[in-house]
């Protein structure tokens, strides 16, 4: 048995005591084995110290997804975090050099708090979840018996199927902090679960919808928070990147958010120059190719005009005071024959497009895992023809 202090963020809007109606911190001392969970600690505090302490939980085994909270600032499941580890992490972050640090427990972020550690999942998580039509929309009438799909065609959706809807990723999402309307990691990972399903008949429509929503797949800032938060290794951000790849590259969707044009501007830029021609990247992200320049979209003109003050400031301080930085396309290539070798890499990789799936083969999978076995082209062909 060890002693721990849980510093809990509380909120009791119905309390009769004036000082408890706003959010406040309260400390609870608990005594438990270090291998028991923070949830066990919270339940001991509730039993022994204050029965009004509200926390949502059910299975206590990281399956039901009920007990999402923030522990030491990290969104996770209370039942999946051991007290001993949490105390060590608290001490490490506090940089006090001792092991006596308090374990902080807060309700999940990006959601309204109902009471103490219980958040309103309905108004955020579930609302966003429904936004992506999270069920199968098959093409044509159902088969007489079950749908038959090749096993390998389901490999890439396995990871998103593992989601238990706990909301930890939503809680941790840094884009959503800035844009509460962002569809978000959980819902977009679920969208990929159906986009990648060969039985679904609305693949292009789903992708078109989420690519063109200003709060859709291109509103993710690629911060990896959801990857670290997810207790089931769903890596929602990776599923969002899969959506982007499918939308722009495989389904040819030219979104209004400049998402695909930015990606392609970057890809072409390195093929041509080896290192980034920033002004070209910027200009091509808004107005790609000859067509983009002859018939620019209103949003492209606005984007480019909006950037003029920034450019002028850059010229004034000397940051951008050079011809290659001011005139797109003047940027130098790599020295000697290096650029030719970069082009050769493009030719070969754009031909084979291998995608290793580390969720399936494992990071230390090594030697016997075959790259070809996880090559997803077959999957994508299936989904395109399904």
């Amino acid at each position: 048995m060890s002693a721990y202090t849980l510093k809990v963020r509380r909120y009791q809007p119905e309390s009769e005591e004036d000082d408890k109606r706003g959010a406040y911190w309260e400390k609870f001392d608990v005594e438990l084995d270090p291998t028991l969970s923070v949830l066990d600690g919270l339940l001991q505090a509730k039993n022994d110290a204050d029965g009004t302490l509200a926390v949502r939980c059910s299975c206590r085994a990281a399956i039901c997804g009920s007990c999402g909270v923030k522990i030491n600032g990290q969104s996770t499941l209370a039942c999946k975090t051991q007290l001993g580890e949490a105390a060590e992490e608290a001490a490490r972050k506090a940089r006090t050099g001792d092991g006596d640090a308090e374990i902080t427990v807060e309700p999940m972020g990006n959601m309204p708090v109902i009471k103490d550690l219980v958040t309103d999942m309905e108004s955020t998580h579930w609302k966003k979840f429904r936004r992506v039509t999270p069920w199968l929309l098959p093409a044509g009438p159902p088969p007489e018996r079950e749908y038959i799909v090749p096993a390998e065609s389901m490999v890439d959706v396995t990871q998103s199927v593992a989601c238990i809807q706990c909301g930890a990723c939503v809680s941790s999402c840094l884009s959503m902090e800035a844009d509460p309307e962002f569809v978000g990691p959980a819902a977009l990972a679920k969208a990929y679960r159906f986009v990648g399903d060969p039985r679904d008949g609305q693949t292009t429509e789903r992708l078109f919808d989420l690519a063109n929503d200003p709060h859709g797949m291109y509103d993710c800032t690629h911060c990896f928070s959801c990857i670290d938060a997810c207790p089931k290794d769903v890596a929602p951000m990776n599923q969002i990147m899969r959506l982007r790849r499918l939308a722009g590259d495989d389904h040819g969707i030219r979104d209004v958010n400049n998402g695909h044009s930015h990606e392609m501007a970057f890809v072409k830029n390195i093929r041509k120059k080896g290192t980034l021609d920033e002004s070209l990247l910027f200009q091509e992200s808004y107005a790609p190719g000859v067509k983009g320049k002859l018939l620019p979209r209103v949003s492209a003109i606005r984007g480019l005009l909006d950037s003029i003050p920034t450019a002028i400031r850059g010229i004034r301080t000397g940051k951008m005071r050079s011809i290659p930085k001011l005139i797109p396309g003047v940027h130098h290539k790599l020295p000697g024959d290096a650029q030719d070798h970069v082009k050769h890499i493009y030719e070969r990789a754009e031909e084979s497009k291998i995608q290793l799936n580390l969720y399936i083969i494992g990071e230390g999978g090594e030697e016997d895992a075959s790259a070809e076995a996880t090559e997803p082209e077959s999957v994508e062909e299936e989904s395109a023809t399904a």
Partner: protein
């Protein structure tokens, strides 16, 4: 100490002061840098979004160029670190995949070796703490930055995901900026934004979301009493510094906080003049920081 050096694109583009200040700081610290001038862009995660094999091969090429020198590799950009670590994770996971990639590289006489003797690729921040050593850094400090209140800003790509970025072996990588600030004599400012996202990756896709992030973090640091921020990532610098006046409009408040590149902060403590370190090139004025440092000398 001698390292193969990948400067990245932005450090020679829109943040030229980063490349310059790195050269000065490294030289003063006695770190010899062998620039990989044939190496290519890491793809910043964007090329991997388009085609993983393409990104993996491009970065395998850079690793192979570094391995040819027999040295470990250093970068000065969180985003380079994250993009390269992502590719390295896949390259290291599967021998047949690696063989396929190396076949592509063979025309240039290059090959990436997973088990090359002690080969590592580290951001300048990681090099400073893990390989150079904070004790040795402390010895080199000529002008302790006493009274300078510095807010750390890491950049997502050196923080997450932890499993990929070597946190098993080096669990304190998310505290190194604090450690360096203290060794240089400065005071660490705690504020909400230190480990959040600057918003840069969506600047052309959703400018409002992007600048709201940058503006919020700069504002929080000001409210916490910071004299400046310090970052190991030039892309964060673009959003926090270059876009700061635009970010101020989005969050509806005055900002005006200097954002230093990590080698600039190190350089100040090593005794370099702010001008030598390129600080006047910044958009958010660095004059308050310069005055403070001048008062120390």
């Amino acid at each position: 100490m001698k390292l193969a050096y990948w400067p990245g694109c932005v450090s020679r583009g829109f943040t030229p002061e980063l490349h310059g200040s790195t050269a000065l700081a490294a030289d003063a610290l006695g770190i010899e840098l062998v620039t990989l001038d044939r190496a290519n862009c890491t793809g910043a995660g964007v090329i991997a979004e388009h085609n993983q094999e393409l990104a993996d091969t491009l970065n395998a090429r850079t690793f192979a160029l570094a391995q040819e020198t027999g040295l470990s590799m250093m970068n000065i950009c969180s985003t380079c670190q994250g993009a390269q670590s992502e590719c390295q994770e896949r390259l290291d996971a599967d021998a047949s995949y690696r063989a396929h990639i190396n076949e592509t590289l063979s025309g240039e006489g290059l090959a990436y070796s997973k088990d090359a003797d002690g080969f590592t690729n580290k951001n300048f921040l990681w090099v400073l703490v893990e390989d150079y050593g904070l004790d040795k850094l402390a010895e080199k400090v000529k002008r302790p930055l006493e009274g300078l209140r510095v807010g750390p800003f890491y950049g997502c790509y050196v923080l997450r995901p932890k499993t990929r970025l070597g946190y098993d072996e080096h669990p304190d990588r998310d505290l190194y900026l604090e450690q360096v600030i203290e060794v240089l004599g400065g005071t660490v400012v705690d504020y909400d934004g230190a480990r959040r996202c600057c918003g840069f990756p969506v600047i052309t896709m959703n400018k409002e979301t992007s600048l709201r992030q940058a503006g919020t973090h700069v504002g929080d640091a000001i409210d916490a009493g910071a004299d400046c921020l310090v970052t190991p990532c030039p892309l964060c610098h673009l959003n926090l510094d270059m876009q700061q006046p635009e970010a101020a409009k989005v969050v509806g408040r005055d900002l005006g906080l200097a954002v230093l590149h990590l080698p600039q902060l190190v350089g100040l403590a090593l005794g370099f003049d702010p001008k030598q370190l390129g600080m006047p090139k910044h958009i958010a004025s660095t004059i308050a920081v310069e005055d403070r440092v001048a008062a120390l000398a």
